[in-house]
Symmetry: C2
């Protein structure tokens, strides 16, 4: 099998797990955070920067890459790995989420999702089969099934219909992705209804997926609802396969979700916040434009070993941000991505040493 997951250890005080995910492009230690590389680049970072930040896997966005530069072009370059010169693992989403958040006039039929490009208005249909074809062309190590991300709030009945469509699409994805280079994950939907989540998991468990994602969360529901549903859904998934919570989130969300049994995460928060000057540190959030940093000669985070913290002061980062300098966006991103990657390394170490119960992250 092109993808294999080894469950190394389960925490005794929580549902947290240590794992090893082997992909065609390398081995990943879990729990893991995947920086988001929307358009064949994690914004502002070179691939050597990503390696130095400690990133072991990145996420690519199928919707964006399909529209620009196009998956056939990327296929010619040996897939996304060759095109962007990243030899390490890549997970691609299915494009479904962006079709509805970015595409124009999007509508769903049994066949698939129709939409118009946010770039040039051109019309497209992404069916489950098409989503698999595109991700295979991208050469993804981990392909995501096409799902419908149920909006929040949704009534029970509309959430049920949406979840059932996701299940039927999942079956078509499995059939269409037989020649994939890596693994295929199914996505559990069901909005905020535990019963629907269970029913979705029941269906997907019967399909030969290599792992399972929890989708449709962090879309506006209260934090406690999200944690309840993460815990509930994770408990419905096979222990010996990886679990991925899509699009989440803040450092405390990652920690809490690891405790609930999640292995993989992605989120634009470290990269987007970096470009907005919101920086994560071991002492809490730093809003770099704040006047208090004007003459602050300390590194952003004295506990951090990233390039930014090893070479520059808060005052310099503030100056770059206030002056609108691109270098500031880059240095901020290096730091935030390192923070997230290091946080996961510390969480893994805490699981290993049985100290996860005492592990805390600063509130941001």
């Amino acid at each position: 099998m092109a993808l294999s997951f080894e469950l190394l250890h389960t925490d005794t005080m929580s549902h947290a797990r240590l794992g090893k995910l082997t992909t065609p492009h390398g081995v990943i230690e879990t729990p893991v955070f995947m920086p988001v590389g929307t358009q064949a680049t994690v914004k502002t970072l070179r691939t050597d920067d990503l390696v130095r930040c400690g990133a072991s896997i990145i996420l690519g966005n199928t919707y964006h890459l399909y529209l620009r530069p196009g998956h056939e072009l990327i296929r010619q370059f040996g897939g996304l790995h060759g095109f962007m010169n990243w030899p390490h693992p890549i997970l691609t989403d299915s494009g479904g989420f962006q079709i509805f958040s970015l595409g124009q006039l999007a509508r769903v039929t049994e066949e698939g999702a129709r939409f118009q490009s946010h770039i040039d208005g051109s019309r497209h249909l992404i069916s489950p089969e098409r989503a698999m074809e595109i991700q295979v062309a991208l050469g993804s190590d981990i392909i995501m099934a096409l799902d419908e991300c149920t909006p929040y709030p949704s009534t029970y009945d509309s959430a049920r219909l949406s979840m059932e469509l996701t299940c039927r699409w999942a079956e078509r994805c499995v059939a269409a992705a037989e020649d994939r280079p890596g693994g295929l994950f199914g996505i559990v939907q069901g909005s905020i209804y535990p019963e629907l989540r269970s029913r979705c998991a029941d269906v997907l468990r019967e399909l030969p997926f290599d792992g399972y994602a929890i989708g449709g969360l962090a879309v506006g529901e209260p934090q406690e609802t999200m944690y309840d549903l993460v815990g509930h859904t994770a408990s419905q998934l096979p222990a010996h396969q990886p679990r991925y919570l899509m699009g989440v989130g803040r450092p405390r969300d990652l920690l809490q979700s690891v405790r609930l049994g999640v292995d993989m995460f992605d989120c634009v928060m470290p990269t987007r916040n970096a470009r907005n000057g919101f920086l994560f540190t071991s002492e809490g959030r730093v809003v770099i434009k704040n006047a208090r940093y004007r003459d602050d000669d300390r590194p952003l985070d004295p506990a951090c070993e990233c390039y930014t913290c090893q070479h520059h002061s808060r005052a310099y980062l503030r100056h770059l941000f206030m002056a609108g300098e691109i270098l500031g966006l880059h240095l901020n991103t290096v730091h935030n991505v390192t923070y997230y990657v290091q946080l996961m390394a510390q969480i893994r170490q805490a699981i290993r040493s049985g100290t996860l119960a005492e592990f805390t992250v600063p509130d941001v």
Copy 2:
């Protein structure tokens, strides 16, 4: 003396010179190109990138740094070297050029240049004494005298008055910069009038400057006029001191000006053009957004050893540019700066080996 220049060799077929300029922060081989680091950063580049591009000295813009973050703040951080963490040589301009190109309601009196900030409209006076004080606070290795950059076109009489003011200011700069950490260069003005250039050089030669710049060119005059004036002015300057042609220019301008006896250059062209997708290569100009590069798997310049050319295809660079990705601006800048720095290294080698007469650069 904090700055010393050793003239190593003069070409037999032209006025080209090989030199060694020793500054408080290191030795520079001349002829040299200085990337422009306007706001305490060469746009999109980290200081380790600059080192890898081969840059041995960069330029800082006094006008910008004085307004933001302020020279007193930079002084607290050990000057610009400490503030931006660049331990190698820095030349700072005097601010005069930007006062007139960016400042609002700028006007000149005998005392100095008054203007309002382009950032917040605040009122300022930069006198020769103030320009020296600011550059000393910045810790510059090479300080430039405050001059009036004579606009083009100017009548002989207004160019003469402007040049004479520059000469009086030069004298005040020398008196005010006694405690400087490095060297001080005078600037020859005189518009397109060789006689005024000569008279300015006559005055400045009598002052204890460590080098001389040729200012007020590449401001709209025809190319041949510029070359004539560069050659004429260079011939009026002391052979055993460095000569710096300010704000010039295209690769062929650098080559031609080296032949006319110039040792130092700065220009925003490699960095600004990079951000606009205009790239310099050994085979000529590449406009990266051009559709012909869509699936071009070759490096930008097969003859180039920069990070960009060693790691990425033209197709990837085009994609990043079309998608508006910051990484594209960075990778383009790495290449263009390397191109300029390498061009100067090749020119030095050609002088050394007596082959400068046959040296050519592609027309861009």
